[in-house]
Symmetry: C2
Subunit: 260 residues, 2 copies
């Protein structure tokens, strides 16, 4: 019903508009099932591909997803806070001192993670940031972090091999004293960091690893940490599914350089 041909707006757009309205105003709530393709074909009197085109527009907007063979569902729009500052200040990641684990436990959720440690020839992106020569290697701790069994984000921390060679960073367990502590003991106290955030669509690999449904962008968050001698000692590569997070920074001071 109610699709008109020969209007400026295409049929699939009109169908998508109507469904989008219903999603946004709550007629169909988060988690609800949309009508099946067959129902929409009947309702609007159009071909199946037209209905599918309309639905794929909404999928591309990140509003709905297909769960085969159950139907299309409205996606969850709630987001959790992601705070790079406390992640770094509390340091990245270890048992009692892992900010991810402790913060989430306090929030009454069940955090967990998998850790996998290896020595690798790191990607160019990491090599540049760690100022490694062509033949220098790095240790990477690859983590997948979960909350209540649900994958939240991936976190790969790279360290120059020569710095961490004999430290607990090499062991595939939570770092009980904390990675920053370990680095400091090795003579490299991290005193500053550079955060780079890029927004993009995931690669097919990432989509698979993070179990992302189509229409889900990611934030790639790269942290490069420097020690007291301005040497890069850590490069962390986080990939966050865009639909699950709000990235938060708090800033103060704002010294007004030119008297503004």
């Amino acid at each position: 019903m109610a699709v008109s041909r020969s209007v400026s707006r295409s049929v699939k757009q009109q169908i998508a508009d109507e469904l989008r309205d219903q999603v946004l105003n709550g007629t169909v709530a988060e988690g609800d099932k949309l009508p099946s393709e067959a129902e929409l074909i009947e309702r609007y009197g159009v071909a199946r591909n037209t209905v599918r085109d309309a639905l794929s527009l909404l999928v591309g907007e990140g509003l709905i997803e297909a769960r085969r063979p159950h139907g299309y569902f409205v996606r969850d729009r709630r987001r959790m806070q992601y705070r790079p500052q406390s992640d770094l200040r509390g340091l990245p990641i270890t048992a009692p001192h892992d900010t991810f684990l402790t913060e989430q436990e306090q929030a009454g959720r069940e955090p967990s993670q998998t850790i996998e440690v290896s020595i690798v020839d790191p990607p160019a992106l990491v090599k540049e940031r760690l100022q490694l020569k062509a033949d220098e290697l790095a240790v990477v701790r690859r983590r997948l972090r979960y909350l209540d069994g649900e994958l939240i984000y991936s976190n790969d921390s790279y360290y120059p091999l020569d710095i961490v060679q004999t430290t607990p960073i090499m062991s595939p367990h939570d770092l009980t004293p904390g990675a920053n502590h370990t680095l400091a003991e090795a003579g490299h106290t991290q005193v500053r960091a550079l955060d780079e955030i890029t927004v993009r669509m995931p690669t097919p690999d990432e989509a698979k690893r993070l179990d992302l449904s189509p229409g889900t962008p990611v934030a790639e968050h790269i942290i490069t940490g420097y020690d007291q001698d301005d040497r890069p000692v850590r490069c962390v590569l986080n990939v966050l599914p865009g639909n699950r997070h709000v990235i938060i920074y708090e800033r103060d001071g704002l010294p007004s350089p030119e008297g503004e």
Copy 2:
């Protein structure tokens, strides 16, 4: 040629894979034109919709875009730096003191912007952050920023009406002394800020306003500024096309709270 049926990977996936490889390894460079649909139909011996399905996968990954009626082209993957800290420290946006304009001019590019000022009942999102009551209004300065004639991002700054009512913030021009200066003169010196960054697909409105091609996510960057009495005095809503920017924060100190 070379698509095989009855393999686990679908035909459209195989075609997409082959084209993706060519894009990523540079066989077809940024800005280059891909083969037309007709050529791909012939090359692979499949139906048109199959070719279109393959291409729309790559469009969804943000790798290529259709420029009708010219063909499909490899998208530009260069990004410019976006630094919320200097944007705020230098203050947001005015003629000689506008960090956007001055920084970009120094980089040898031609910045420009449109400004539109109005008094509005702000969106709920802004109202919460400015702690406005239901009937309180705000002044919004809506900007679209360009570089060399190309749209870079949108920037909407909201101010509580009662604070800026009689100030130059109300005039639709560049703020020569700077918005922070004006706020300070009105007795509200901004001393801290909260940044929130969310990653999502654009709404159809945004896609149109920012001229985003399909497969382009956005970063929504919300800055809330507080004065010496911890009253929110500004709420800035930036929408950045994901494919054009790297968001950069610099942090130092990292005081290691619990001795980590």
